[in-house]
């Protein structure tokens, strides 16, 4: 999605540059508010739904603490056998969740649906199998296997589970890294986001002013690798003599995963965002022209660190409006593999010759991670005009994930 992360940079520029100018003066580099894309941290939500049950299946693997001997003597010994003996009771032999004699009230998710099976990282699946549905905010009818299987055994079920998706074109959920605040995420998502930003300036020569921005963004996947996004910015700015609240430039965007390798792991996406001149130019709420913004977003893991990068060019249709070059780099890591873990990170956010550093913290708010929030502070490192610090963040809802366990 093209959420406004970077838009923060744009917004910041509007604020610092334009705000200092007469309000009716044309902005030198208006920045609309447009989206960036992003996606929430992958682990969050196990798409599992009732899925959980599948876990059950999963269990079986092998040796199990106390009962290992009996299992090897009389029980299933391979993952497919265990799936058939245990997991298939609820998830079906073919992973569809359609069984002739259901023993649970919920209907497990269809693992042959690649949208279900691919989008979350291994750690989410493993956690669901280990803790059971109630341990990860999903169906409590899925039991936990952490007392009967070793972590290695549990991990062994994930490939079996993912194999129910026959289409290899879907990017792996292991590439679904936590969303930075400003850097565009390469992995496509189904999310609704609110991205607030608050800047306060207190210049000796003028009165202090606090400006507030809020971007609402909707991201939706389609096909195996694509996503579209719509974002609407709202601004509430202090013009000394009054405060104005208006809508800025609405943006639409498309993103496509061009390269994805779960083993590396690396992901590269290309996107194109178009910002429409819906915000009033003379007030600084818009650029007054359509702006096309092609971008590239990439992510990888270096040991336990997430590394995500994003670069884009703003190409205004109006030749009087300057082009802008934006680039962002994020590095962060989780406190644990749980979907509700804390994630600490820092971004470098550049726009033309200006540079900000944005330390941030992120937290999954539900057991599935379907709700998550992030808070950071964007500090100018290299700037042209006023040195304005902005508080930035987001609240996201991964709307295909259950917020809590289904009954």
């Amino acid at each position: 999605m093209a959420i406004p992360p970077l838009r923060y940079a744009a917004w910041r520029r509007l604020w610092t540059d334009e705000w200092s100018f007469p309000v009716d003066e044309r902005l030198p580099h208006p920045a609309g508010t447009a989206p960036d894309s992003g996606d929430s941290r992958g682990k969050c939500c196990i798409v599992f739904g009732v899925t959980s049950l599948l876990l059950a299946a999963v269990l079986a693997i092998g040796e199990i603490a106390t009962g290992q001997a009996r299992a090897t003597e009389t029980g299933p010994t391979t993952i497919p056998e265990m799936w058939g003996a245990w997991c298939a009771r609820c998830h079906a032999e073919d992973g569809t969740g359609q069984v002739s004699e259901p023993t649970i009230t919920g209907v497990p998710m269809d693992f042959t649906d690649c949208a279900v099976t691919t989008r979350e990282p291994d750690a989410d699946w493993e956690r669901a199998i280990a803790k059971g549905g109630s341990g990860v905010g999903l169906s409590p009818e899925m039991p936990g296997f952490e007392d009967s299987l070793t972590p290695a055994q549990i991990a062994g079920f994930v490939p079996h589970l993912r194999a129910f998706c026959r289409d290899t074109g879907w990017p792996s959920g292991n590439l679904n890294f936590p969303r930075p605040i400003i850097t565009e995420k390469a992995f496509p998502e189904d999310e609704f986001l609110l991205l607030p930003a608050i800047s306060h300036e207190s210049e000796p020569a003028s009165a202090s002013a606090t400006n507030v921005g809020l971007i609402a963004a909707y991201e939706r996947r389609f096909g195996r690798r694509a996503m579209y996004e719509v974002s609407i910015p709202f601004y509430n700015w202090d013009f000394l003599t009054s405060r104005d609240s208006e809508i800025g430039d609405i943006a639409v965007a498309l993103k496509y995963v061009a390269y994805a390798s779960a083993t590396t792991p690396r992901i590269v996406s290309f996107g194109l965002e178009a910002t429409l001149p819906t915000g009033r130019l003379y007030k600084g709420f818009g650029k007054g022209t359509v702006v096309f913004e092609p971008y590239i977003a990439a992510g990888t893991m270096l040991r336990s660190w997430y590394v995500q990068g994003h670069g884009k060019v703003e190409l205004p249709v109006d030749p009087l409006v300057d082009r802008a070059y934006l680039y962002n780099l994020y590095v962060g890591r989780d406190s644990s593999s749980a979907p509700d873990a804390w994630t600490l990170g820092v971004e470098l956010n550049g726009e033309n010759k200006q540079l900000w550093i944005t330390p941030q913290i992120r937290k999954g708010l539900t057991a599935t991670g379907a709700l998550a929030a992030s808070l950071g502070v964007s500090i100018p490192v290299k700037y042209q005009r006023e040195k304005v610090v902005s508080w930035v963040g987001y609240l996201l809802w991964e709307f295909l994930e259950p917020l809590r366990a289904r009954k």
Partner: protein
């Protein structure tokens, strides 16, 4: 169900009384259940222990609780999956007791414990025989134990910090070491109901109670 389970210890030094009684019902026992899941392990049919009553109407597995008489029930309980039934059917434990669940069956069982309001305390998988898993129950209340792969399986944990007893196969129960006084006697059964009864306990004597559930 060989006899009433008696809980409670004598208050040191103080004279106490005893509450005994018989629980009966006009309800009849339930027909055996036909089993189609794992019949090689579970059998073709299983008795339905939701109501266990003898020919004279004596009701087993009812729990009587003497309100206001604090007691420490068992700190630990074991639930065994045995031929696709939980054994025992009903137990009394103290708050936060450790519940051990194990299986004798070579099929996947789960032990799922839920409070009366539907909150899941735990749900553990027992994919192989011989495995034992220990979990804790929470505060006072009734906990329903079920199996997600054999939906007819039921067990109950009555979690209480008050004096309580379970009726045996003859419908009898007894609670010893009760300080003299008047109390409400609450009766719980998984399928039947009964209003609380007033009992007055006298030191050195047994107070006999008759409870009829419907």
């Amino acid at each position: 169900m060989l006899g009433a389970q008696v809980l409670g210890a004598q208050a040191p030094g103080a004279p106490t009384g005893r509450v005994t009684g018989t629980i009966t019902t006009s309800a009849v026992g339930l027909a055996p259940m036909r089993v189609t899941i794992d019949p090689k392990v579970c059998g073709q049919q299983l008795p339905d222990h939701a109501i266990v009553v003898d020919g004279q109407g004596h009701l087993a597995n009812a729990v009587v609780v003497l309100t206001g008489v604090k007691r420490q029930a068992a700190a630990e309980a074991t639930i065994t999956n045995d031929r696709c039934a939980f054994v025992p059917r009903v137990q009394i434990v103290r708050p936060n007791a450790a519940v051990k669940t194990t299986s004798k069956d070579p099929v996947l069982h789960t032990t799922s414990a839920q409070t009366a309001n539907g909150r899941t305390l735990f749900n553990v998988a027992l994919p192989i025989a011989g495995l034992t898993v220990t979990k804790a129950v929470g505060g006072t209340g009734t906990v329903r134990v079920s199996c997600n792969t054999h939906p007819w399986m039921r067990a109950w944990l009555v979690v209480t910090d008050e004096a309580a007893a379970i009726s045996g196969a003859d419908g009898r129960f007894a609670i010893d070491g009760v300080p003299p006084g008047s109390y409400d006697l609450r009766i719980w059964h998984e399928s039947l109901t009964s209003a609380p009864q007033k009992v007055t306990v006298t030191a050195g004597k047994a107070t006999e109670v008759s409870v009829r559930m419907k």
